[in-house]
Amino acid sequence: MTTYKDKQEVIHSKIWNEEPEPDNPFAAKKCYCSGYDVYGDLLGNASWVEYLFLLLKLQKPTAEQANLLETIAVAIANPGIRDHSVRAAMNAGVGGSTAASTLMAAIAVGAGHYGGAREVYLVMELWEKCGQDLQIWEKELLNPDIDERADIWLPIEHPPGFDPHGVSCPTPVKQTLEKFSLLTRVDSNSNWLKENQNRLEEKTKLPITFTMIIATALSDLEITNEQGEILYLLLRLPGAAVHALEQKKLGWKKYPFFMDKIKFIDDHTST
């Protein structure tokens, strides 16, 4: 007998399954996430971060894992009103752009390898290469293997996870790393980083930044580079959203335009 799946293309998934309502094949009666009934069981029993962990890892987190993911989520929920990605969202807000464009702007600006999600990806890649071997870290940070082919991404201009404009490690970064070290095992990557932070900073002559400690904590959750990159984009959106809404209400007249802060240098020689 020919089934629907023999005739139609299907979407393959280990994450999600649905059963239809008897009167409508397009309306789900039951939705399952990795075997759990989302609306009949998870709802009201699983927390947001437990469900998020389940979606990523297809397994229920331990209390320690859920606690660490929740702490990561709180740490980066609002990158702060001066952060580039939040400024992008506020630019959308003051101009009265759509809500979607506000978050798209924050995602686009927060995607790069200067403080953004690509930098988290690169640090997680370093964890894969270097593990807890200080010598390999030093080699990779100071003399990285560079793919010489052109790409949509420009080459990174600083060691991933370090602030190229920094002077010393800012207090919130230290406080967050301290918290991660308390929430993870003594042999965790977060604890290794805490122990070796000074040595790495001496070598690079730069302070570590949020991308370093978040990528490290995500590696402690055994999250993949690609999952880490996308989680970083996702979890930083609340701050972008609320600051955009706030500036929308305040209006463009109260928002910086940098009217007199641009200078045109006419060095153009071509015809």
Binding site: K5, G35, S101, H165, K263, F264, I265, D266, T269
Partner: protein
């Protein structure tokens, strides 16, 4: 880089790209947009903005033909177009579909990544061949390192229907016999000789033609970012003109689940 860089930039952003003087004029790469560039075609302005150089009318026709022939498919099955079509079907705005479509076009199996890498491969290979390296060894090296040569082979089907019409235009314009486009087809032949079924796709042919016009990889990237845009607009237009939610609807049974069995939280 240092704290001093931040402090210096805090009060002034210096630029030679251009500037608007509200109520007065716009300087665009050193030229007055209204007085000197207002008769430019959009492609002419784009290329001038991206490169700072002016191109002749034949070159501009080639640049435009690449957009028209190679990337303007109004087909909602193509992944980036489908994003825009779904935006229309779900009644989100055209700009959101357009922006998402462009962002999605920075893909690995099609779109901007192979486009940029193909261009870069041809430029570098040309230089190395000129310096005496053999093309076969360059192709082999690329395959050993990356398993693919960017701009060769294609998902879904083997041949690329765009090559013939684009080369026809290039020949008509007298721009089809440069060193890079010759190299693009030489690479295809070497792959065949090595036993690989990797025909040239449009990425290597467009790259060869444009490399012969002197663009850098970065200029090529900026020139092509918008190239798929007509397909996005048409896909959005089509699906937003139909009843909402009707683009390739999927019933629950369309999920082929291979995960763990049902269990309790």
């Amino acid at each position: 880089m240092s704290l001093e860089d931040l402090l210096d930039s805090e009060t002034c952003w210096e630029t030679s790209i251009g500037l608007s003087y509200p109520g007065e004029k716009v300087i665009f790469r050193g030229k007055d947009l209204f007085a000197e560039l207002s008769n430019n075609s959009w492609m002419e302005l784009l290329l001038y903005g991206v490169t700072g150089r002016k191109f002749n009318q034949d070159q501009l026709k080639l640049f435009e033909a690449i957009w028209v022939i190679c990337t303007s498919y109004p087909d909602p099955r193509i992944w980036n177009n489908r994003v825009s079509a779904l935006t229309g079907s779900s009644r989100a705005t055209g700009a959101l579909g357009y922006a998402a479509g462009i962002a999605v076009s920075e893909a690995k199996i099609y779109g901007m990544k192979p486009i940029v890498k193909s261009f870069d491969f041809l430029i570098k290979s040309k230089k190395k061949v000129d310096e005496g390296e053999s093309l076969v060894s360059l192709v082999k090296e690329e395959l050993e390192k990356y398993r693919v040569v960017p701009g060769y082979a294609r998902p879904i089907i083997k041949n690329d229907e765009r090559i013939k019409p684009l080369m026809k235009v290039a020949k008509q314009l007298g721009l089809a016999s440069g060193e890079h486009i010759k190299l693009a087809f030489d690479v295809e032949n070497k792959l065949k000789e090595l036993g690989y079924r990797m025909n040239a796709n449009i990425a290597s042919v467009a790259a060869g033609l444009v490399a012969d016009q002197g663009l850098t990889p970065r200029e090529y990237y900026y020139y092509l970012i918008n190239c798929f845009s007509v397909g996005f607009l048409m896909s959005h237009l089509d699906s937003s003109n139909k009843k909402e939610g009707l683009l390739f609807p999927l019933r629950c049974e369309a999920i082929s689940y291979s995960g763990v069995k049902k269990k309790k939280w």
